[in-house]
């Protein structure tokens, strides 16, 4: 979706302001939100792509008015309302193993990759209402495949609950001027990780 979360290239947010000796949490409730999101995230009712969509799918003014953990809280409340209570309760004993394993997104390939390292590709001009991981600034742009990451769960479909629909995932590099025209930095480049359905031969 073309939401406020898709921030690459947006003007007007001002300078980055790092905080010296920043603590991990700025209020006690942020700890609780982190714990709840991680515990319920392995509860069997939703996946990471549904979580991301639940956070980003809100009016731009609302998204921009919330702090980061407030967005996590709002997303969690929506998931509980829409998807229901967990079917699996994480125990303290399971925490080290669950965190060490994480949630790998790679799957056994069921077909050959369409593109290879060195191929020139153009990103499609896609504007879905649903979840996507193709940022707006990198649509309809020509780049070069620099790495084939593997065959990964496709967020655009996984976020809907219709299955993982794994796809080949590529590192695609664009020049600063391809992305930003004469206002771009000709000595910089930007890479994204792009799923095969985002790409066509250039």
């Amino acid at each position: 979706m073309n939401g406020a979360h898709d921030m690459g290239g947006v003007h007007g947010f001002g300078p980055v302001v790092p905080e010296v000796d920043e603590p991990y949490f700025h209020a006690g409730w942020e700890r609780n939100v982190l714990g709840l999101v991680l515990a319920l995230g392995v509860g069997g009712k939703w996946n990471i792509d549904m979580s991301r969509h639940a956070r980003e799918n809100r009016p731009p003014g609302e998204y921009l008015s919330l702090s980061y953990y407030e967005i996590w809280l709002a997303g969690l409340e929506r998931l509980l309302e829409e998807r229901g209570l967990p079917t699996r309760v994480l125990t303290a004993e399971e925490v080290p193993g669950v965190l060490a394993r994480g949630g790998p997104a790679n799957r056994e390939p069921t077909r050959d990759a369409r593109f290879a390292v060195g191929d020139a590709v153009r990103t499609l001009n896609l504007n879905p209402h649903g979840h996507t991981r193709l940022p707006r600034y990198a649509r309809d742009k020509v780049g070069v495949v620099e790495r084939v990451h593997g065959f990964h769960v496709f967020p655009d479909v996984n976020a809907t609950g219709a299955g993982e629909d794994p796809q080949w995932l590529y590192l695609v590099r664009f020049t600063g001027t391809e992305l930003w025209g004469p206002d771009g930095d000709p000595t910089s480049s930007v890479s994204i990780d792009a799923f095969e359905p985002y790409l066509e031969p250039a």
Binding site: R31, L36, A39, R52, V89, V95, L99, R101, A138
Partner: protein, 192 residues
């Protein structure tokens, strides 16, 4: 603290957590274990060990470049938001900078939880379009002859910047070298 001193968000979180706990839908001991892990165990000291090893061991550096997930696992480091790692190496000609413009993807397994600025609109909006200006916000100025490579973490691959080893550190031990490595240098907004 009286009840009226609680903010709206505190009240929401407290109500949600107590309802989930009393209903048996979350284990409070698991919540404590999760938070304790990320507040006290997982942090940039882990990434620093990877960087220091890469500085002192050319074979390790080559394995890190070839398959960072496996090379990092050699040091006993793995986990959530680090399942698919790629290491990118700063050189005198190339400086690397990591961002997630769409949310806050960050290599938790080697750097811990991200700082607020990494998740903020100023960083997410500008890192891809004006990386040198963002570096200036951190007091970093690169020469005109240094190109900037920005890595936008748009899938489940996570990027670790391996900064250049500071000059004059030839006699330092691996542990001493690890102590020199900052979180910011492994995101690419700092240099050593």
């Amino acid at each position: 603290m009286t009840h009226s001193d609680l903010s709206d968000v505190q009240i929401r979180v407290r109500a949600l957590e107590s309802a989930l706990v009393s209903g048996g839908h979350v284990d409070p001991a698991a919540l404590d274990a999760l938070v304790e892990t990320y507040e006290h165990q997982v942090g940039p000291h882990l990434g620093a060990r990877v960087v220091a090893r890469a500085w002192v061991d050319d074979d390790y550096r080559a394995r890190l470049a070839d398959d960072a997930t496996a090379a990092i696992a050699e040091l006993g480091i793995s986990g959530r938001q680090g399942e698919h790692m790629v290491a990118v190496f700063n050189t005198p000609e190339v400086h690397n900078l990591v961002v997630c413009t769409l949310c806050s993807c960050y290599p938790w397994s080697v750097l811990g939880l991200p700082p607020v600025w990494y998740k903020s609109a100023p960083y997410r909006s500008r890192a891809v379009s004006e990386p040198r200006a963002v570096l200036a916000d951190f007091g970093v100025t690169l020469g005109e002859d240094v190109s900037v490579r920005v890595w936008d973490s748009t899938a489940e691959v996570r990027y670790l910047v391996v900064p250049m080893r500071p000059p004059g550190t030839e006699a330092r031990s691996e542990d001493e070298l690890a102590a020199l490595v900052t979180r910011d240098s492994m995101i690419g907004v700092g240099v050593l």
